[in-house]
Structure formats: C-alpha cells, structure tokens
Amino acid sequence: MQNYEFTKEELAKIDKIIAKYPNPQPAVMPVLWMAQEKFGHVEPEVQQLVAKTLDLTPAHVYGVASFYTQYYKEKKGKYVLDVCTSFSCQACGAYDTLHELEEKLGIKAGETTEDGMFSIQSVECLGACGYAPMMQITNDVYVNHLTSEKLDKVIEGLKQDKLPEFEPIPLVQNREPAEEK
C-alpha cells in the first residue's frame, strides 16, 4: 500500500484554508481537491490522510467524498467522461448518449478502459441544463449538445491528448432562430 502524505508547503496551505472557517469541517472539500490534484484520486487511504490532517473522523470525510461524483474514490482513467443523466439531460436523450458512449468505448458507466485512458460516470446535474444533453471531461471542459458525431470527435481528440475547445454559447438574443421543421 502506498504511503500518502502532504508536504510541508501543502500543510501550510491547508492551515491557511482551515483558518478561514470557524471549525475544520468546511475545509474538507478544498483539502480533498488538493489531495485529488496531487494523487489523482481520493481512495480511502487518501481520505484517511485528509481526516487525519484536519483532525476529523474518516467517516466524516468519506461522507463528503461519496456525495460528489467529482471526487474519485478509486483510481480512474486519464480522462473521466461525466455524462449528466439528471432530469433535463435525461429528457433530451442523455441515456441514449450514455449507452452510445458505453458502446463506443466498450465499458459500462463506472468502469475504466483497459488501457487506462477513459472512465465513464453517470452523474447528477452539472448546472448546464440549457445545453442538454451534456458531459464534462475530468472535472474540466463541458461538451454541450451531445450527438453521436460529437462523441466520436471528442474521443478521437482525447486519444491524442487534445481536450475539446470550450464552446462559447451565444446569448439567447444573438442566437439563430431555430429552423422550422
């Protein structure tokens, strides 16, 4: 088992985070982020490190970490594709998109490809309901208005380590009127 530790500088930074709040509980989230950035995941051992650092119980940290799909409670692929399957996206066909993605990569939601490149997660609302169906890549860029072609393009790009561009969304008043069908 790997031995996880924070460096002196990191601990100093954590102290600053803690000082912002009246008690250590609120610091759990930023410190979990720090840990995930450093180790790439927050497996139980990392959660225990966070708990120890903040003088909280492992149970408390686990409760927080398990609430958010953005914290990886196990090692994930290099790119984590978080497909939103909450209400608005679902209504716009998010499950079809998810299943299509599963087929393309040959894994199910919650799994990681053998080469360690991709993981798929089905997640709750990411606050981009207006651009449904959508997904987020490794807690970073959003890919909006998903279609089969778009998925192919994104996957191809990621295989060459190219994250898709951020898609600016035109303001409502500047949008082209929808085509009459």
Binding site: T57, H60, V61, G63, F67
Partner: protein, 580 residues
Amino acid sequence: MAEIFIDNKRFEFEGPTKVLQFILDNGLELPFFCYHPSLSIPANCRKCFVEAGQPVFNRETNSFELDENGERVIRFFPKLMTACSLDATDGMVIKTHVTSELVRRGQKDTLELILINHPLDCPICDQAGECPLQIQTYKYGPEGSRFEHKKVHKPKRIQLGPRVVLDAERCINCTRCVRFTDEISKSKQLTIVQRGDNNYPVTAPGLEFDDPYSVNTVDICPVGALTSSDFRFKARVWEMSQTPSIDITNGKGCSIDIWTRDNLVMRITPRYNPHINDYWMPDAGREAYKIYNENRISRPEVNVDNQKIKSSWNNALLTTSEKIQSIQPNEILVVGSAYASVEDNFALAKFFGQLGQEKAVFAPNIIEGSGDDFLISDDLAPNTSGCEFLGIDQLDKEKLAAEITSDQYKLIVILHEDVVGRQIVTADQLASKFSIYLGTNKNQTSAVSNVVIPVTTAAEHFVSYVNVQGRIQRTIPAKETLYTNRRLDLEMSMGRLDHFGTQFDNWVTDKNKIDCIPAWEFLVRLAHELNIDFKFNSAREVFQEIVAGTDHFSDVSYERIDSELGVDLANKQKEELNLA
C-alpha cells in the same frame, strides 16, 4: 404564563420548548421519525408537519388584532411547519392532523414518498411490531402506492460492526444513528454516504462500527434498517414479555428491560432513566442474557466420594446443616459478594450472625481504567456500594485469599463470588476446604465446592442493587423458576405467549425453568433445620428489615424505588450530614 392553542385547546407552557416535545409531554399524539429528545434536531423526515400561526399584534394600539367575532386574527405560516424544530411562542396556534385536512394530506404524502423505495418486507423484518414506520403507515399513511416502477436497490445485510447489521433499503435516512455516534457515544464512526435516493449510513471504508455502545442505534432506528446481529430473527416482538430490570454487568446499573419468551431471555434493551442512563446502555450489558439462559446450575449438587451428584433439596439442606452443626460458628468463613443483591448479602450476614459468626467479608472487583466516563464503570460488579452500606467487611483479593486459606476456618460459605475464576484462590486451595457455594452459573468455584446450591439470578427474583453512584434500584422477575408462576405472581409480566401458550403446543415448554431459589430462601430453610429463629416470606420482608435496621437504607421502599426510578442513598446521606 405563556399559552399555546393546540387543536382549539388551550395549554400553558413555561420556558423554551419545541412544539413536538410539548405535544408529546401532554400526552397528545403527533407522528415523527427523526426527532429524538436526547439528540440534535435535523428536521429531515418531514413527518411531524403541523399548521402553525401566530396572533397578529398591532404595535400602534399595542393589542392583538381582532376579527368581527372578537377572535384574535391568526397569521399562519404559508407552509406546513415541522413541529420538532418549531419553538413554541406565546399565543401560538397549532393545528395537527386532528383538525387540519392539510396536515393529514401532508402526513400521507410524506409517507408515500418515504415508502417509495422501501422494501415493505415487514413479514421478515425484526422491527415489525415495534416499528414507527409500520405503525404510522397504518395510522396516517396512504392506502397504496402509486409508484409502479422498479425500486432503487441498495446494499443489504451489511455487517457494520460486530454487533450491528444494516439493511440500507429499509433506511429512511433519519440520521438518528449518525447523530447518536456523533453526539452521545462520540465515536463518530457513522456517516451518511452517497446522495439522493442512494443515501444510507455506514462507516468509512475498512473501518468497523465497534463502538461499545453501538447497539443503541438499533434501538433508536425507527425502521428495521439496523438490527442486532445477536437478536436477529430470534423472536417476534409480540411473542415476548417485557420486564423492567437493571443491568448487572457493571457498577453503573443501567435501567433495562428484559424480554423473555418461554422463560428464555431473548434480548435486553435500555429503559429510560434520567438519573443514570437516559435512553442508553453499553453493548456489554445486552450480553447478560447469556448469564440468565446458559450454563445455569439447576438442582443442588453434593460431593459424594469426590464425585458431584445432583441431589434433592432435602439432602443438600441436611448435608449443609450437619456440617454447620459439626463445627464452631467461628470456624465458618462467610463470603458475601458485590455480584449478589442487597437482600441476599443481608440475609447471609444476618443468618450467620445469629448462628454466632458476626463477620462477613467480600472482595470488590474494581479494575482501574477499565471503564469510561459514560455508562461503563471501573467497577465490574453491580452491588459494591450495597455491600459497603450493609457493613460487609471489604477485603482486597489477597486478604480474602488469606482468609479462605487460613487454618482457622473449616467451612467456607460463598455467596455468588467466583473466587476461583477471579483468581483469588486456586481450585486446589478451595478444594482442600469444605465449601458451600450459593451460585447461579456453573463456574470454577462451583466445580470444586462440596455443596452447590442453585440460586436465582437478577432475572428471576425481586432484589435490589446499589450502583456506583449510590443509587438503589430493583429487579422484577422476568423468568419463572420451577417454583414461581406468572399467573400467581401479580408483579411478573405476561406477554401474549405467556397468556395463551399451553404446554401442549409447540411454543411453550417447562424446560427453560431453572430449579433454583433465592439465596435468602435457602437460608430460611436452613434455619428451620438448625432451629434458628430466622424467617422471611419474601424479598420484600428482607428489605423491610434492612430499611428498619440500617441507616443507609432508611426511608427507602420498593414503592419509592419504583416510582422514583431508584433512590439515591448517597445523596440522602449527604443531606443528613448537612443538617447535622
């Protein structure tokens, strides 16, 4: 005094109080799940909905606004309020399901939502029969579910720790269990994980729920999500008889209930006592059912040619009395015990006092640091203070060993104390003396004693114990012995099975009744053999004599103990000292 109107009835209240607690205190009913009087109030189950309003106060006229009928104008909160978290205020008006259609609807809808993913497996659930969810669904719930889809599945049969099993599908996420470990036992071992309809409580990965108070979460879980690994599937609630008693596994003496079925103790649960244990008890105390059920001495045993044989009571009495008559009273060592009751210790000391041996001794079993500052005391025996108050000589282990092995004594009479098991003396040392053991369970001492007299446990007789705080409490028999009978003894409780079971059905037998009598009763019989004037008809009579003759116990009675949930002897002492 502040007033509050609940369903058009006026009540008065003092000091801050929550509406739900006030309603419960006044014997009214309002359904709830997540609220618990000893825990913080998260108001997350939404079951305790009421309509609440306040009179409109006009600051200019400095009076309440009145409507055309001269009644106060009430401004209601726009939404239903959770009574558990709502502070009662002066003039507040509350409508519960008794008077409000809206509240009835709210309760029904809340239940329909709570039950959407509930497995509805009451027929195989341990909680059935004492389940708030089941009861409230019958009383306030919808008639059926409109949800026709597949329910969310969650983990089942998770062994959270050595003593607690979780069925996450039954959980309604009231967080009582989490709050218990956070606020009462302070182990903080549980947390709610996941989110939305996947929520459930568990420990951090790789860690066990081994809190020494863990089973209390089973008691307060308002559904069957947490069950006790020990009691799981052993008995249905309605088959058992429930009898108030006290925990004898340590000096704290938590108030408990003993649950029996066909004279076997099935489980032990805490009984509310604000002076000692509130609603809680340590897990270790629940294991005491083993003391009551297993490995019991039934029927006297006498050594004949170095072999232990079961004997009749008559033979045991004769053997004992002959031995006593063959020696001088000062050749008898009388060993009392902090594990035995006030009554038995008193009877023992008095009996041998009358015979001519004034001295009785006992060795407390206190291990420094073995307890905590909650409900587990360093004192492992339930009645150390009781023995002290009775004036039994307190010796440490070494001194007691020296007494037992001393040549001065030819007969050792031991009440309850497992002197060999506690390593006070070795089996050989005890075997080299003639000893009489009055005990409940087979142990290393009973194995080498010449006469073994089976006596009743705390679950089989009326007796009292004084805990480490100096509080005296008493037990009521939960199990019948061969010589007691629930139907005749009006203080014993009778559950359905006790009422309606017969010896000719499959569920009731005689085999769980132990052939034993209280120690004081054995001494009364012995006195008859020896022609001593020593007579009691009941434990109550023994106790009355203690009260009459011992300062520490003056003014105490079984009735006072029952109605005041025990009486604080130490404090009573203090008050007298202050007066002097």
